[in-house]
């Protein structure tokens, strides 16, 4: 008995010690694994939901974005969709991840073939990263086609490869000129008489002569001040044939025109802080230190949110044209919502139906304005009462309805395989060196383009 009990005790002790050692080992392993060595944690696994009405098919979708507002918008659209659709019940698991981190995680997930969400927002500047070689996104022809006739076609171009759309944007992003009416009145300038960039420069001289403000500010740490005029002048980074054209003569002319405002005519300065999203710039524009700036339509929200003293003073107008009758706008910025190829095939039909509903229907496009403050890219919604309201912040004008006549004078933007790198070079080499340091536009554009070409 004694022998057996002693052996049993010894065994129990041995088992106990072994378990302690293994548990400790596992804990250490878990600790080591959890310190971020292996990259970020995987997004939560999808759990098949059994909720919802009996007849409708429950579809749970993983959605990544880097903008909270986009998540809120699509969640609201999903609720609306579920009310109206009798076939599917969509549950959108939206996750907002920081801009760079989200795109990096997505790239790794798509390249490695696992871990990607079903639906994802890809920023226009990063979109081409995902469309090189074999495209890990689903073509969206059948999503877009039913709505195509109503859409501003130019907005599809940045997300198309070989004419096939892979992403759907949240806005048109039409470039406009924002004028501070008080300063323009003080300078004796009628903004509606400004038709060309030459007129704009002459008006700028009047502003500088008669007020304490400069006519404009330009970005040296952002792309908008030069990319808009480049596109407007039939230039841009890529053409419709996917050719890199960043150093063509139209682009040189556009960049030289912007540079002349700073270095030759003295009517523009570098935006305080380097771009039009810096607190220093908001403060200066709010204080009336500059009279105008050209940015896309979505910048309207910045006046309300960041520049409270501009209330009632801002006039929204088309861009001046390079030649009388030329294009008076183009597009800036954007985010394409895409469906990844890692989505379960059984969900594909539902997600396509949802995406079309959430982004391209008449009501969805109206809500892009009412919920997000963005300019829709469906022509017919501009007559909707919601877009025809006078806006007290913007001199009581019907700003959105006024935009539509520009749409047939809108320069398109095309992207291509090295669009992300070219965008960066455009900011860091061209905008900075030309606008800040007075470097030669032709030389810097050529150098930047060569650098981008040398990648392949």
């Amino acid at each position: 008995m004694v022998v057996r009990r002693t052996l049993a005790l010894a065994d129990a002790r041995r088992v106990f010690r072994l378990s302690v050692a293994l548990t400790a080992g596992l804990l250490v392993a878990a600790g080591c694994g959890g310190d971020g060595e292996g990259g970020e944690a995987e997004p939560e696994q999808e759990v098949e939901s059994q909720e919802g009405s009996g007849e409708k098919e429950d579809i749970e979708l993983e959605f990544w974005t880097f903008v909270d507002n986009h998540a809120d918008f699509l969640n609201a659209q999903a609720e609306q969709f579920n009310e109206e659709n009798d076939q599917y019940n969509i549950t959108l698991n939206a996750t907002t991840i920081e801009f760079a981190e989200m795109h990096d995680k997505l790239l790794v997930a798509l390249q490695s073939g696992t871990g990607a969400p079903d639906l994802v927002d890809i920023e226009i500047g990063r979109f081409a990263t995902f469309t090189r070689g074999e495209i890990p996104l689903h073509p969206l022809d059948d999503v877009v086609d039913p709505y195509r006739d109503e859409l501003v076609q130019e907005r599809l171009a940045p997300y198309e490869v070989g004419g096939v759309p892979y992403g759907i944007d949240y806005h048109l992003g039409a470039y406009v000129m924002y004028y501070n009416k008080d300063i323009m009145d003080e300078a004796g300038v009628d903004v509606d008489a400004i038709e060309t960039w030459d007129d704009y420069i002459e008006a700028g001289k009047q502003v500088v002569a008669n007020t304490d403000a400069v006519m404009a500010t330009v970005e040296t740490a952002g792309p908008f001040s030069i990319r808009g005029p480049m596109l407007q002048n039939d230039g841009g980074i890529y053409d419709e044939n996917n050719e890199l054209i960043m150093d063509n003569s139209e682009n040189v002319e556009a960049v030289e025109m912007v540079a002349s405002m700073v270095h030759e005519h003295g009517i523009a300065t570098v935006a305080p802080g380097g771009d039009h999203h810096q607190p220093a710039f908001f403060e200066s524009f709010n204080n009336g230190e500059s009279a105008s700036l050209w940015m896309p339509q979505w910048y309207m929200t910045r006046f309300r949110d960041q520049m409270p003293d501009t209330e009632g003073k801002i006039l929204v107008r088309p861009l001046p044209a390079f030649e009388p009758g030329g294009t008076v706008s183009t597009m800036g910025g954007g985010t394409g919502t895409a469906i990844t190829n890692q989505i379960d095939e059984s969900k594909l039909e539902a997600v396509k139906e949802f995406l079309g509903y959430a982004k391209l229907t008449y009501d969805a496009q109206v809500r892009l304005w009412t919920e997000l403050g963005f300019d829709p890219f469906r022509n017919d919604v501009y007559e909707d009462p919601a877009l025809s309201e006078a806006d007290p912040w913007f001199n009581n004008e019907t700003v959105m309805a006024n935009l539509q006549p520009m749409f047939d004078r809108l320069a398109p933007e095309y992207t291509g395989p090295r669009y992300p790198e070219a965008s960066t070079a455009l900011i860091e080499i061209v905008a900075y060196e030309v606008l800040e340091e007075g470097a030669d536009a032709q030389e810097t554009l050529t150098r930047a383009t060569e650098q981008v070409r040398s990648l392949d």
Binding site: A21, A29, G38, S454
Partner: protein, 308 residues
Amino acid sequence: METITMGNTATKDRVRTPFFHHPYVVAAVFLLPFLIVFGVFRIWAVANAVVMSFQEMEGIGVARWTGFDNYVRLLSDATFITALKNTAFYTAGTLLILIPLPLVLAAVLRSSLVARASAFRSTIFLPVLTSLVVVGVVFSLLLATNGLLNSFLGLFGVPPLRWLEARNLAVPAMIIMAVWRWTGINVIYFTTGLANIPRDMYESAAVDGAGAIRKFWNISVPLSKPIILFVTVLTIFGGMQLFVEPFILWGTGGGPGQGGLSVVVYLYRTAFTSFQLGYASAIGVVLALIIVTLSLVVLKVFGFFKRD
């Protein structure tokens, strides 16, 4: 019964030591998780990066051997040269400030000149613990053209400097931030080093008429050599691996006119924007070689390889 009595003897006990009680086995069990993680995420990853640097990656797992092409391309890559210059400038700047300043501060805090030295040490150490997001926000305000630093410099008649907007001030801006962040930890290192110097050496020097500066220069500095060496090598590591600072100051990581672009930021862009993993690996390998070379030079200069 006999077994029990025999089992109590030391000899038998050793013979019957269970497998998992053996010290080597226990050590292995406890070390294994670390070794596995280290092996997979460090050794295997680094070895793989070296292999990849001789390849052109076409997606994950699809590679084409290109020999030394990636390295040859590096030699004529203007962006890499810019990034290398910025990184070298930053490393030199941090070395010039983050070694002498904390050493002097540590000596002052150890002297009788300062009451409540530990409170000062804690204060100086606080930035090390501050979240990077907070650091980014604070320094964006501090270094803004109409920010606090320029207001302070204005008191001495210095015109406002565009710290975050001008290419030639990008690296100095990052050095200012590095000094704020890392002075505290270096003070702790140097304090530890100074604490190991026997008090009686200072007392003897005082008897011989040496003043505070002479004692610092002739006793504290030479006897802190091992710590200075340690901090120098750490500062070189930190400087050459510059990555977070440009991102939190400028968002894009490049800074004005690529003035803040570091080698690691360029590596990151090459890997994640251009998805050229082979070329990015070559950048990493070259950076590692530069760091190793610099460290060896420093060790040599400090006489680390000399036999005592």
